[in-house]
Amino acid sequence: MVAILISLNSLETALASEMIEIPAGPFQEGVPNEEGLKTIELGHFSIDRFEVTNQEFANWNKNHSSHPETEAHPATQVTWQEANDYCIAHNKRLPSSNEWEKAARGLDGRIYPWGNKKLKKKAHPFHSGIVKRKVGLNKKDVSYFGVRDMASSVWEWTATDREDKKIIRGGLWNHHLDYEYGKTFDIALAAPERRFIFLGFRCAR
């Protein structure tokens, strides 16, 4: 029994640190409007399949606190520098905004990671907007390349600057307690020193 538990834990750890290969080549970037999408050329890179969890982040930063039983939830309340340092310590880096978009959008310019149609399931069951679930729990939120949680989980830091802020990607939009899935081209900005309950990250290489 103990052996099974250990192997299950190892499997979870392995899955959590798994990376998805994104092949070099062009992809369609930007907001689908009358100006049309732009073709962007990117080199090969890899990106974490899941967002970094509280457990993973706490293993590296002993000061990171989270509520009991949220070990497998995405790590939040993390500054850009902390996220960047975590990635570097794991021989990775934060993805650029374009890399993030390609990993979510694939090669066909889709609106959501899973395609062009909204999911029937509500974007957020708790109405509070605060993500309270394990990474990878939404089985439908899978991107073209197999990356998880790029539209229905927390927002994520990227390495890209805009104005004096960092571009963040992929989280929910609150419309009077009715939450919208993030779209693959949606962009928000956050000051790098801020910590937010809705903002986490994943790494690339």
Binding site: F126, H127, S128, G129, I130, W155, I168, G171, L172, W173, N174, H175, H176, L177, A188, L189, A190, A191, R194, F196, I197, F198, L199
Partner: protein
């Protein structure tokens, strides 16, 4: 069997009276741009009338207007030096003015210039115990809200007693309210009677009964600013600085 305290009885009377006024269209003699259903009565409560279309007023329950002459702020709980302070004593703290937008979880927002003092002034005075991580506010409308002490100590948090250069109106929280512009309006309690230092902040009134997060951080989403014709715009989360 339900027990009625004197306070519960008075508030219930106030509610009945307000409903009566509303149902039968009674209005005070002070008609005009400033009047609403509470004008000319001893009560105050949620309103969208007239001037308040520019800055909505939400309250949990209608309540008797606070008498500033008799009002005191009680600060107690996990601290070494509990205090009871008058409004004049609070006004003696170093004054701070900031322009900030109040964003309601209902979607609307409105901007004002707030004047008051930083929470650290009270914090230093009462000498909190090390285990006191949470702060509870109890208000005249029986609203309860709570937050982390570290959020109250943020530089943009203000304990406000004036709005746009005038003492807070009853609607906007006379005599004292919290302004935390990075949290939704329900985390900005008004007409505060009491502050208690606790180990961990409990759920507030709305997070306990409604779908609102206990944290209350403004999330990326949509805003309908009253001062900009409610025109829909996207916001990125945290304080709205425009």
């Amino acid at each position: 069997m339900m027990k009625f305290s004197r306070r519960t009885f008075l508030v219930s009377l106030a509610e009945l009276f307000t409903v009566f006024l509303g149902l039968f269209g009674f209005r005070s003699s002070a008609k005009g741009a400033d009047s609403d259903v509470y004008t000319g009565t001893p009560f105050i409560g949620k309103t969208r009338a007239n001037q308040f279309q520019e800055f909505y007023v939400n309250y949990w329950k209608p309540f008797l207007r606070v008498d500033g002459e008799r009002w005191t702020l009680r600060i107690h709980g996990l601290c070494k030096k509990p205090q009871t302070l008058t409004l004049n004593q609070l006004k003696a703290f170093p004054q701070k003015t900031q322009s900030s937008r109040l964003k309601c979880v209902e979607c609307w927002s409105a901007k004002a210039e707030w004047t008051g003092f930083h929470f650290s002034e009270l914090d230093q005075m009462v000498a909190p115990l090390p285990e006191a991580k949470g702060i509870v506010f109890r208000c005249a409308d029986e609203y309860l809200e709570a937050g982390l002490r570290e959020d109250l100590l943020q530089p943009r948090t203000l304990m406000a007693y004036a709005m746009n250069g005038k003492p807070l109106s009853d609607g906007h929280g006379f005599p004292l309210r919290v302004i935390m512009p990075f949290k939704y309006g329900y985390k900005n309690p008004k007409a505060i009677l009491e502050i208690e230092y606790v180990k961990e902040p409990p759920y507030g009134t709305w997070s306990k009964i409604g779908p609102y997060s206990a944290d209350g951080t403004i999330l990326p989403g949509y805003d309908h600013p009253l001062d900009q014709g409610k025109k829909t715009r996207k916001i990125y989360g945290g304080e709205i600085r425009y």
